[in-house]
C-alpha cells in the first residue's frame, strides 16, 4: 500500500464520527481509569518502592484507626514511607517511635535519641472521643489519628537499643506500652503542650501556635523536663510543625517534610516549619473533594 493510500485510510478512519466520539470519551476518562487500578474493595498502598493494591480490611491505620507497625505474622506489610529526598546528616539517620506515659516533669528513662519529637494533639478536648460537631476539631482529631498511625509505621524503639542517631517520635498514651501502641492520651498531651508553651515565653508566635487545634509535631534535642531556655545552647531549641491545615490524607506528606527537615537542618534554632508542598497537596485534596461528579461517574463506570 502506498503512502497516499495509507494516509487516506487514516483520514477516513479519523473522519468517522463513531471513532472520533469514542476517542473523545476515551480521552476524558483515560486519566481516571489510569489513576485508580484497584478494585472497589481494595486500596492502593506504596509498598517496597511501587504502588500496589491491598484489601481495604488490611488498612494500615487511617480510617480504621488501627495502629500500624510491628505487623502480625502473615499480615500485609505496612506502606513504606516515601524515601527521603535529603541525604541524612550524621545527626539523625532513622525514625523510631515509642509510647510515653510519664508526665512532662518526670525524668527521661531509657536510651536517648538524637532528637525527641513529641506527637501532640491541640486544643481538642481531653476525652478519647469527641461528641461535639465543631468541624475544625473533628478534622484535627482525624489528622491526629492519621499522624499517630504514620508515626507508628516507623520501627518501634527497642528497650536497651542505641538511639544515638534516631529521631524518636514520642506518643502520649494512657497505658503502658503494648505491641502496636496504646490509646492516645489527650490529657497527657495537653500537659506536654502546656509545658512547652511555658518554655516558649520568649517565642510568642510559637507559643500562640501551640494553643491551636493542632495536631503538632514538636522536635527538641532534650526531653521536655531537661529543657532550660537560657543561653543559646543548641540543645534548648524547639522546632514545631502545625498540621491544623492538613487533610488526613496529606498527613504523610507533612510527616515526610518534617522528617527531611530534621535530617537536613537538625534542631538548631527555634522555628516553625511551614513547608509549601504539603500545603499545596492539602489544598488540592480539598479541591478534589469539592468536585464529586467525576468520582461518582468513575465509580458507576467501575460497577
Amino acid at each position: 500500500m502506498g503512502k497516499r493510500a495509507k494516509g487516506s485510510a487514516l483520514a477516513g478512519m479519523l473522519g468517522s464520527c463513531h471513532c472520533t466520539a469514542l476517542l473523545f470519551v476515551g480521552a476524558t476518562i483515560f486519566s481516571t481509569v489510569a489513576a485508580g487500578a484497584c478494585g472497589p474493595s481494595e486500596r492502593e498502598v506504596y509498598v517496597g518502592g511501587r504502588w500496589g493494591c491491598i484489601p481495604a480490611a488490611t488498612s494500615p491505620g487511617g480510617s480504621t484507626g488501627e495502629p500500624v507497625g510491628g505487623g502480625a505474622p502473615g499480615s500485609v506489610q505496612s506502606p513504606v514511607p516515601y524515601p527521603p529526598r535529603a541525604k541524612p546528616l550524621p545527626g539523625v539517620t532513622a525514625e523510631l517511635w515509642r509510647d510515653i506515659t510519664a508526665v512532662p516533669s518526670a525524668p527521661w528513662t531509657g536510651a536517648r535519641p538524637a532528637v525527641f519529637t513529641y506527637v501532640l494533639s491541640g486544643d481538642v478536648g481531653g476525652d478519647a472521643t469527641y461528641k461535639g460537631t465543631d468541624q475544625r476539631i473533628l478534622r484535627a482529631r482525624a489528622n491526629l489519628d492519621a499522624l499517630v498511625a504514620e508515626a507508628r509505621s516507623f520501627d518501634k524503639a527497642k528497650p536497651g537499643a542505641s538511639l544515638k542517631s534516631a529521631n524518636l517520635f514520642c506518643i502520649p498514651t494512657k497505658s503502658p506500652e503494648s505491641a502496636n501502641g496504646a490509646a492516645y492520651d489527650h490529657r497527657l498531651a495537653r500537659s506536654y503542650r502546656q509545658r512547652l508553651q511555658e518554655l516558649l515565653t520568649d517565642q510568642s508566635q510559637l507559643r500562640d501556635r501551640l494553643g491551636g487545634v493542632g495536631p503538632f509535631l514538636v522536635a527538641t534535642r532534650l526531653p521536655v523536663n531537661e529543657i532550660v531556655r537560657e543561653g543559646s545552647s543548641r540543645d534548648n531549641h524547639i522546632v514545631l510543625i502545625d498540621l491544623s491545615s492538613a487533610e488526613p490524607q496529606s498527613v504523610i506528606v507533612f510527616m515526610n517534610e518534617f522528617k527531611n527537615a530534621i535530617r537536613r537542618d537538625d534542631v538548631l534554632a527555634d522555628k516553625e516549619l511551614a513547608p509549601l508542598r504539603p500545603a499545596i497537596v492539602s489544598a488540592l485534596l480539598r479541591v478534589n473533594a469539592a468536585i464529586p461528579f467525576i468520582g461518582s461517574a468513575y465509580a458507576t463506570l467501575k460497577k
Binding site: 476517542l23 473523545f24 480521552a27 476524558t28 489513576a35 497537596v281 478534589n288 468536585i291
Partner: protein, 63 residues
C-alpha cells in the same frame, strides 16, 4: 469533526500532564485521590484547546 478530534487530543494531553504533575508533587499519595482534579483538568484542556484551534483557524481563514 476536525475540531472535535483536536479537542480530544488536548483533553488527553491535559489529563496526562495533570496526572504526572500530581505524581511529581505528591508521590506519597495515590493518584486515585486526585481523580476529580484530573478529570476536570482533562475536560478543561479539551475545551480550551478546541477553542484555541478554532480561533486560530478563523484568523487564518480571514481575508
Amino acid at each position: 469533526m476536525k475540531t472535535l478530534f483536536e479537542s480530544t487530543l488536548f483533553a488527553l494531553i491535559g489529563g496526562v500532564v495533570t496526572y504526572f504533575a500530581l505524581r511529581a508533587l505528591a508521590p506519597e499519595l495515590s493518584s486515585s485521590q486526585f481523580t476529580n482534579i484530573i478529570g476536570v483538568a482533562s475536560i478543561a484542556s479539551g475545551a480550551v484547546g478546541g477553542w484555541i484551534v478554532k480561533w486560530v483557524n478563523e484568523r487564518k481563514d480571514r481575508p
